[in-house]
Structure formats: structure tokens, C-alpha cells
């Protein structure tokens, strides 16, 4: 009972903080007031039962506590602030209409993901204030020291206050410029969950769930944005395959060898439905394309019957939109599947000079595999050794070790 109450409170926390931030004018006061309300909830709900509308209950209590706090602090003089907050609170309807709650949450999302903040800080701040994760939970997720994450969050908050990063929803005209930063924050959480760069667990199911939760919130808040739907579809489809990404020994399982009967068909179906609806809007974007590729994999009964011509077409489209090294490497794999290993190698050749490619273990690992398939065993061994030297995740290194051994027996 107590545990489920804590989960419930954590889920509602971001929504209540969003409203309190608007009322109090700063994030710290908002979080303090919400923390007070949460303490009361954890004390009262187990005895009296969970209120019918938990978020409204928390908001009402947090508003009272915010006023208490301002009153206490203002014994030193700032009467104007007390009067102002009291007046604002008196004007606020209780409970709040859905449109206000939605706008409050959107304001919080756009503030936490403001382009003037450091990208790492955006992720930490969003997970802390919107998702309600604690500083040490975030630190564990990204394997950063608690102090570093705490510092990132407090620096970001200080910059928001000092530079007056506004607490408002961007206008429709600004939205195309501002939305990518928001989607990128969710993408970092998703990507880290799908393939953790360091640590014992290659796949972080908790992060996949957090990314999906955030993407779902964005779809709810911005139902007309096709890229939000694309992002949610990508999260769902990626999470659907998570159960077979690692074997019982903790080592990665390749897509070709995965037991596809263990994939979450319901999540895939939801992703496909979302994607079909968003594609009808005719505003394609990188997240919709990535989701489409991911869904094609999830829908195929095995590697051979995957719609490779379509996958290659989508990767070419994605390459045109976001010509990153990661997209290129994935495209090379798909081209090799459809047109043979030399075609894949040609795609890699075009980025061989880029430092992001040279320093990325997966670039070398994929190149090694394509060289092996082309019969260039010694080149493959060199590339595998380079990949092994660059890989930071122990599971990745074990997989590369195995391939090196296999290559040795082949030669």
C-alpha cells in the first residue's frame, strides 16, 4: 500500500510542480511546496485512503504550503510578495481546469528543455522536475556521480532564474525551433536505455519506460505535432523488443538471433497505429522515419522476411534529414543486407574521415563484419581490434572478443 502510494505521488509530482512554478514564480519554491504536500500525503493517505483526485489534492495542499512559506520568509519585510501570491491563489479556480494543467506542464517542459541550457543539464532537469526522479536515480541512470548531477541541476536552475528564462509555452511560430530540444531530451533517455554506453546492464528497462512516459506526455500535451507521435512510436517499438536484447548471461543478442515470440506485440501495434496516424499529416521528420524503421523490424517474423527495400529507402531518407555517423552506420548495415557487403562498405567509406566515426566502436565493429563477409579477413581482424579498444560497455567487449575468436578459426 505504502509503496503504491509513493509511486502514485511520484507520477503526479511533475504536474503539481508545474502549476506551483507558475504560481510562485520560481522552481525552488515550487519544489519545496510540493515536497511539503508529498510529506502530508504519505502521512495521511495510508490512514484515510487515497483521495479521489490525488493531483488536485496535492495541488491544493502545495498552494497552502507555498503561501505559508512566503509568509514565514516575509517576516523580514517582503509583504508585497505575500500579498501578490495570496491574490493569485485567491483568483485560481480549485480544482484547476484541464487546459490550465496542460499549459502548466507544457511550460515546465519547455523551460527544462530551453536551448540556452546545457544539453546534459536539460536531461537531468527534465528527469528531476517533470518525471520526479531523484538526483541519485538520475546519477545511477547515467552513471555520473550524484554530486555532478546535483550540480548540473542547480546550475541550470540558477541560470533559469538569473537570465529569466521565461515560463511560457512557445508560440506556434516559435514551436518548430523549440520542439527539437524537447524531443532530443527524450531521445537521450531512450538511447541510453536502449544501449547504455557504460555499466553492467546494456539495456536499461527503467529508462525505456521513462522515455515512453515522457513521450506519451508530449503526445497528450501537443496532439497535433506529428514528430511527438513519431517519438512515442519509436519508444514503444524499441521497448517492445527490449526483452530479447540481452541473453541470460547479460550479453547482447543480435536482432537476427532474437526470439521474436517474446516481443511485445501490443506495444508494436500501438506504435504502428500512432505512426499511421502521424504519417497521414504529411509532415515527416526524423522521429517518424526512425519509428517506421523500428516498426518494420518489429513486424517481421524473421530477418530474411524483413522489408529490406523499404528499410533502405527509409535510411536514405533519414540520412538526408540528419546525416549523422550513427545514421550512416545503420544505413550501411541495411544496404549490405539488401545489396551485399560491398554496398555497405561503400556507405561507410564515405564517412571514414569523420572523427565521430573513427572514435566509435560500432563503426569499426560494423566495418569488421562487412569486411569479413567480403572475405577480407585480415582487414576485419584489424577493425575488430580497433572496435574492442574503443568499446566502453563490458557486454560489448565480450561480444567483440567472441567475434575475434570466431574470425581466428575462420582464417
Amino acid at each position: 500500500m505504502h509503496e503504491s502510494i509513493e509511486r502514485l505521488v511520484q507520477a503526479e509530482r511533475g504536474r503539481v510542480v508545474a502549476t506551483l512554478r507558475r504560481l510562485t514564480g520560481d522552481l525552488d519554491s515550487a519544489e519545496d511546496a510540493v515536497s511539503d504536500a508529498i510529506v502530508e500525503a504519505l502521512e495521511q493517505w495510508p490512514r484515510r485512503g487515497i483521495p479521489e483526485r490525488p493531483a488536485a489534492w496535492l495541488t491544493t495542499v502545495a498552494r497552502r504550503r507555498a503561501l505559508d512559506r512566503v509568509r514565514r520568509e516575509s517576516s523580514r519585510g517582503d509583504r508585497e510578495r505575500v500579498a501578490q501570491l495570496a491574490a493569485t491563489l485567491a483568483e485560481e479556480p480549485d480544482p484547476l481546469p484541464w487546459s490550465t494543467i496542460r499549459d502548466d506542464q507544457l511550460r515546465l517542459v519547455f523551460t527544462c528543455c530551453h536551448p540556452a541550457l546545457n544539453p546534459d543539464a536539460r536531461v537531468a532537469l527534465a528527469l528531476r522536475t517533470i518525471c520526479g526522479l531523484t538526483t541519485s536515480e538520475i546519477a545511477r541512470a547515467f552513471l555520473a556521480p550524484d554530486a555532478t548531477v546535483g550540480q548540473r541541476i542547480s546550475r541550470a536552475k540558477a541560470k533559469i532564474a538569473a537570465t529569466r528564462i521565461p515560463y511560457r509555452v512557445p508560440t506556434d511560430a516559435e514551436l518548430p525551433q523549440r520542439l527539437p530540444a524537447v524531443l532530443a531530451v527524450v531521445d537521450v533517455v531512450l538511447t541510453t536505455g536502449h544501449h547504455a554506453p557504460v555499466g553492467d546492464d546494456l539495456v536499461r528497462v527503467d529508462l525505456l519506460a521513462t522515455a515512453t512516459w515522457l513521450a506519451r506526455l508530449l503526445v497528450e500535451l501537443l496532439p497535433d505535432e506529428a514528430e511527438c507521435a513519431g517519438l512515442l512510436a519509436l519508444c514503444l517499438s524499441t521497448a517492445a523488443r527490449a526483452p530479447t536484447r540481452i541473453g541470460p548471461d547479460g550479453d547482447p543478442i543480435l536482432l537476427a538471433e532474437a526470439d521474436r515470440s517474446r516481443w511485445d506485440a501490443d506495444a508494436t501495434a500501438e506504435a504502428v497505429a500512432l505512426l499511421e496516424r502521424s504519417l497521414r499529416r504529411g509532415t515527416p521528420g526524423p522521429f517518424q522515419v526512425r519509428a517506421a524503421i523500428s516498426c518494420l523490424h518489429s513486424l517481421a517474423p524473421d530477418v530474411e522476411s524483413t522489408d529490406w527495400p523499404q528499410v533502405v529507402e527509409l535510411y536514405r531518407m533519414l540520412d538526408g534529414m540528419t546525416p549523422t555517423v550513427a545514421v550512416r552506420v545503420n544505413r550501411a548495415v541495411a544496404e549490405a543486407q539488401l545489396h551485399g557487403a560491398p554496398a555497405g562498405l561503400a556507405v561507410l567509406e564515405a564517412i571514414s574521415e569523420r572523427p565521430e566515426a573513427q572514435s566509435w566502436h560500432l563503426y569499426h565493429a560494423v566495418r569488421a563484419e562487412l569486411l569479413r563477409r567480403s572475405g577480407e579477413t585480415s582487414g576485419a581482424a584489424d577493425a575488430l581490434a580497433t572496435a574492442h579498444g574503443l568499446a566502453t560497455n563490458p557486454s560489448d567487449r565480450r561480444l567483440l572478443d567472441e567475434r575475434l575468436r570466431a574470425l581466428g578459426t575462420e582464417a
Binding site: A116, T163, R164
Partner: protein
């Protein structure tokens, strides 16, 4: 209304006898017109070749060391600044993005003024 400084880091600036000097000046005149009363102050500086950087070594009464040139030797140099009035950072950025240096290869750094 809060004030922000927009520090103008210019990539090499045309000399007064260069053919593109008039267009360069016009860019700043256009900005002044566009920003209107939001500009509450500012100054243009002579080039980095006129800069002297100084440091007093060994405490406030220590030895004065003067060096020819700007503090940071980079391609872009601090060419001047505007003091802008804006509601918030988004407002300041919306103005400052029209400063010519932001789009001609230089950079513009926006900072809030310390409240006094």
C-alpha cells in the same frame, strides 16, 4: 524592465576604406532602428590592435604588467556591446539575433546585468 548586455564578437571587421564598409555600417544602423527604444546603451570599440591587457602581479599594490593585444587572442574579438531591455531571455535573444555579427560569421553573447 530587466536589462541584458549583448556582447558583439566580430569576425574581422571591414576597414573604413573597404568596399563592404558601408554595408557593414548599414547593418548596425538597421539593427538600431529595429530594436528602437529597447536599446538603452552600448558602445562600439576600436579594433583589437588597439587593445592593451593589464595585470597587477603580487596583490593590488603589486607590479603592473601591460601586454599589447586583447585578453583572449581569437579570430573573433569583442567589438562592442548593446545594453538591451527585455522581459526575459527569449525577448533579449529575439532582439540580439538581428545584430549583424550573429549572422556574418561572428557571435553575440547575451548576459543579464547584475541587479543593483
Amino acid at each position: 524592465m530587466p536589462q541584458f548586455a549583448a556582447l558583439i564578437y566580430e569576425a574581422p571587421r571591414p576597414t573604413p576604406d573597404a568596399p563592404d564598409f558601408a554595408a557593414y555600417m548599414q547593418g548596425y544602423m538597421d539593427f538600431g532602428e529595429r530594436a528602437g527604444t529597447a536599446v538603452v546603451g552600448g558602445a562600439a570599440l576600436l579594433g583589437p590592435e588597439t587593445a592593451t591587457t593589464l595585470e597587477v602581479r603580487g596583490g593590488a599594490d603589486g607590479d603592473l604588467v601591460q601586454t599589447d593585444g586583447p585578453y583572449a587572442e581569437t579570430k573573433e574579438f569583442l567589438g562592442g556591446f548593446y545594453l538591451l531591455e527585455a522581459e526575459d531571455l527569449d525577448g533579449a535573444v529575439a532582439l540580439a539575433r538581428h545584430i549583424p555579427a550573429a549572422s556574418d560569421g561572428g557571435r553575440v553573447e547575451v548576459r543579464p546585468l547584475m541587479p543593483m
